[in-house]
């Protein structure tokens, strides 16, 4: 046990020289980084190489417990998903499942989600082996789903399944999702390409110079590195979400309140709902069929349930929405399924749209029948 003789390594320049060099290098590195605009940086991923791809897009509010985190870089999100590693093959039938946290699978393990159940129930479609991809992402916004759909079209789907709900149609929710907020230029581009202009008002046409520098992107870069590190834990444990032993059940007793956003009585103002985003999504999907699903909601048996179905919806608003969606589907020739009351109240977990594994199975069985029934259209 001898004491060390380690000496500090003295640089060969003087302090002012060193400081000046560091400053110049730092500024230069930022300028180069900004000029280079490495938009594809998110595609650099250890997932699907060192680690298996994730079963669902990365999302996590408690990263250390869920080994998952929310980030804004759509490229990085997709690069971590197993969809980005699996090339489309002619003998394969690809189903993309879009949607909110109920599709993503809040409180559900990857094998309990709607996409996983569908993969079990529909192994073959049109004589082809089925691959089902969970592209749901928490937050209720059709525009968010549109962005994900646009990005996912490069994976050559054969069918898009889109369970959604009234809250995702509300106009003020459209640009509020972090996926949209974090990708404003891309969001504007998609909305313009899809023939929508008004929802994109306020979104920038190009990122600011500052936002492109290393400093401006430090958070995104740190998230990208953290996502890769959590890949180790995903591979090691198969866990991508924190599962609390106890969670508050979905609310079933309500005040005598029948308001919905800014409206307190019928009729439901159709202009407050972004139906045009559904139209745009169908256009973005092109020849790929889109099956829109009015997803199951909690029908509360509690206090004032004669006024409200649940925390989100007064009865009048949701009933009118169902009618409007049905009309739109007929008029636009969308493939549409209304499964709003498919799942009993005791198969919801912590919100009016999150299902238990059994609830997911019920929904999956119903959708599987529809998928098989529609044949090879």
């Amino acid at each position: 046990m001898n004491p060390p003789t380690r000496e500090s390594r003295p640089p060969v320049v003087s302090m002012p020289q060193l400081a000046a060099k560091v400053l110049i290098l730092f500024v230069a590195a930022n300028l180069v980084f900004a000029a280079w605009t490495p938009s594809g940086l998110g595609r650099l991923s250890l997932y699907n190489r060192l680690f298996p791809g994730r079963e669902r897009l990365p999302f996590g509010e408690s990263p250390q417990a869920s080994y998952n985190l929310s980030l804004e870089d759509l490229e990085a999100m997709f690069a971590s998903h197993r969809i980005s590693s699996e090339q489309s093959r002619p003998d394969e039938y690809r189903i993309l499942v879009l949607g909110d946290s109920s599709v993503w699978g809040a409180l559900l393990r990857p094998e309990q989600t709607l996409a996983a159940k569908l993969a079990d129930l529909v192994p073959i479609v049109c004589g082809k082996r089925t691959r089902v991809y969970n592209l749901g992402y928490p937050t209720l916004s059709l525009t968010k789903d549109l962005l994900i759909l646009d990005r996912a079209m490069r994976y050559q789907p054969d069918l898009v399944l889109w369970p959604t709900t009234l809250e995702a149609f509300v106009r003020e929710n459209q640009l509020a999702s972090p996926v949209v907020v974090g990708n404003p230029v891309y969001a504007r581009d998609v909305l313009v390409r899809a023939g929508l202009s008004s929802p994109g008002v306020g979104l920038p046409t190009r990122p600011s110079f500052w936002a492109q520098t290393f400093i401006g992107r430090r958070r995104a870069l740190a998230d990208l590195i953290r996502l890769q590190l959590y890949g180790v834990m995903w591979a090691a444990t198969g866990i991508d979400q924190a599962y609390p032993e106890i969670y508050p059940a979905a609310q079933t007793d309500f005040e005598a309140d029948s308001s919905f956003h800014h409206e307190s009585a019928p009729p439901l103002d159709e202009t407050h709902l972004a139906f045009e985003v559904l139209d745009a999504a169908v256009r973005v999907a092109g020849h790929v069929p889109v099956l829109v699903v009015n997803e199951p909601i909690l029908i509360s048996p509690g206090t004032n349930s004669q006024l409200r179905y649940n925390f989100y919806y007064p009865r009048w608003a949701f009933d009118q929405f169902r009618g409007l969606l049905q009309q739109r589907a007929l008029a636009s020739d969308w493939e549409y399924l209304d499964l709003w009351n498919l799942v009993p109240a005791n198969d919801f977990t912590n919100t009016a749209i999150h299902l238990t594994p059994r609830g997911e199975s019920m929904l999956a069985q119903s959708l599987a029948q529809s998928i098989l029934a529609r044949g090879c259209r």
């Binding site: 046990m1 001898n2 302090m15």
Partner: protein
């Protein structure tokens, strides 16, 4: 130490170098260190404890100085002035209670000044008794015992919980919220070892005479307050009394060292922390390969975290004209366990070598019937490593970690001895020597990494379960 505290410390040191590098250095160091004792202390749920623990640190330090300093040093006017200065600093910190803003330099609102005055009087009485006692040898032994007992209470979960319950009852706080985390006494493990070193050296007649300001600064020197290294008093005061190195050299070398430390701690170690083994992931991990990945991540994380802090402390010390001792020197690149322990947490192992290993060896090998060499090595290595383990925590797992290393050191010692006597190829080729070294590094790293299982996990049962996972014998 949080990043903000490190940066503030560095900024203060830099300003001091710029403005008055050669004047009142000791008072600058003393002021910063006394304030840091309170400022670095994390907030605690027991009312007032996050003020009283730092206060106790200073009180014990001053009392230990009074106990160990020779009379001719104690009674100087300079020490009286220093004592008054420290008291004034503590009173000033206490007076921040009456400021309208949230406390900046203490974790919580300080206690009323009347309580503080009473506590200062009690501390003064303690110091007075320490220096005027009729039996200083007994007082020193009792102080040593009290320091060890306090460490044991703080580091044993059951005893810490009892102490916490007692304090909660004393302050009228609900006992249902009691937790061993309630008794986080910032830096006490290091402070206690510095104090024990001074007492033992005083008992052995080796302690140099030092002023109160030098002594307090040595014990609570703010760059090494939280995570060491454990300097020696005689070396520390040489730097404090000696001339300062050229400011430019100090800034350059210290700045470089701090930059390395900040990168190691806040980039590498904090990144590895996301995947390092812990009690939860040990249960969740599937498959032996990933279990090893988590374990290696832990091994690297603990190194980069601890050595990063040391680099920061050494760099900051260089700015202040104090060359703190090295604590790590490429430990994971050593070809055997003995060399690993010569380069891992070196100041702690040197402390134990000086105050446990060497005296114990002398005791066992002396007398009419000295213990055989092999048995002596076994006993001394295992006892020393057990104590080093329990310095981290008085639990079965830390004891197992210590025993793992004690037995490993003994095995290496016997193997080295055997090889010295039986190595048939002393003139082996360079390539063969290199291969043996590389294999040694690999084996040593993995032995140390396996030992970290006991360190990272809370119980022997969980450690055993994880060991089984590592060999693929458990799911």
């Amino acid at each position: 130490m949080a990043l903000g505290q490190i940066l503030v410390g560095a900024a203060l040191a830099f300003l001091w170098i710029l403005i008055f590098p050669r004047r009142k250095r000791l008072y600058f160091l003393l002021t910063c260190s006394v304030i840091a004792v309170f400022w670095f202390q994390p907030g605690l749920p027991i009312r007032g404890l996050d003020f009283w623990l730092p206060f106790a640190t200073l009180a014990i330090t001053v009392a230990t100085w009074a106990l160990t300093a020779p009379a001719e040093v104690r009674l100087t006017r300079a020490n009286g002035v220093t004592a008054a200065f420290v008291v004034a600093l503590v009173l000033l910190l206490g007076a921040t209670r009456y400021l309208p803003a949230e406390p900046l330099l203490t974790a919580g609102r300080p206690p009323p000044l009347t309580w503080l005055a009473l506590a200062l009087a009690a501390a003064g009485l303690l110091a007075f008794v320490a220096k005027r006692g009729r039996n200083p040898a007994l007082a020193m032994s009792l102080t040593l015992a009290a320091l060890v007992a306090t460490l044991v209470v703080l580091k044993n979960p059951t005893l810490a919980m009892w102490a916490d319950l007692g304090l909660r009852r004393l302050t009228g706080q609900p006992v249902t919220h009691a937790s061993i985390a309630d008794l986080q006494w910032l830096g006490f493990s290091y402070i206690a070892f510095r104090l024990m070193h001074t007492i033992r050296d005083r008992q052995a007649g080796r302690l140099p005479p030092v002023d109160l300001g030098e002594f307090v600064t040595y014990v609570v020197f703010f760059p090494s307050l939280v995570a060491g290294p454990i300097d020696r008093l005689e070396r520390f005061i040489q730097d404090v009394r000696g001339p300062l190195p050229p400011a430019q050299d100090a800034v350059r070398n210290g700045g470089w060292r701090m930059a390395i430390g900040l990168f190691k701690k806040f980039v590498v170690a904090d990144g590895l922390a996301l995947i390092a083994l812990n009690a939860t992931s040990a249960q969740q991990v599937r498959g032996a390969v990933w279990a090893w990945v988590l374990l290696y991540a832990y091994a690297l994380r603990i190194y980069f975290d601890f050595s990063g802090y040391t680099d920061i402390a050494i760099g900051l010390g260089q700015w202040l004209g104090v060359r703190l001792p090295e604590n790590f020197d490429a430990p994971y690149l050593q070809p055997n366990l003995t060399q690993f322990w010569n380069r891992w947490h070196m100041t702690l192992t040197q402390w134990f070598r000086a105050y446990v290993f060497n005296p114990l060896t002398r005791r066992l090998r002396s007398g009419a019937r000295p213990m055989p060499i092999a048995a002596t090595i076994l006993v001394t290595q295992v006892v020393t490593m057990l104590l080093i383990g329990m310095w981290h925590g008085v639990t079965w797992n830390f004891a197992l970690w210590g025993a793992w290393h004690g037995l490993g050191l003994f095995a290496h010692n016997r193997w080295s001895d055997y090889m010295r006597r039986h190595d048939a190829a002393p003139g082996q080729s360079h390539a063969l020597h290199g291969l043996r070294q590389a294999l040694g590094v690999l084996l040593t790293f993995n032995y140390v990494a396996l030992g970290w299982v006991f360190f990272a996990l809370p119980s022997p049962a969980q450690s055993l379960g994880f060991m089984l996972k590592l060999v693929g014998a458990a799911g």
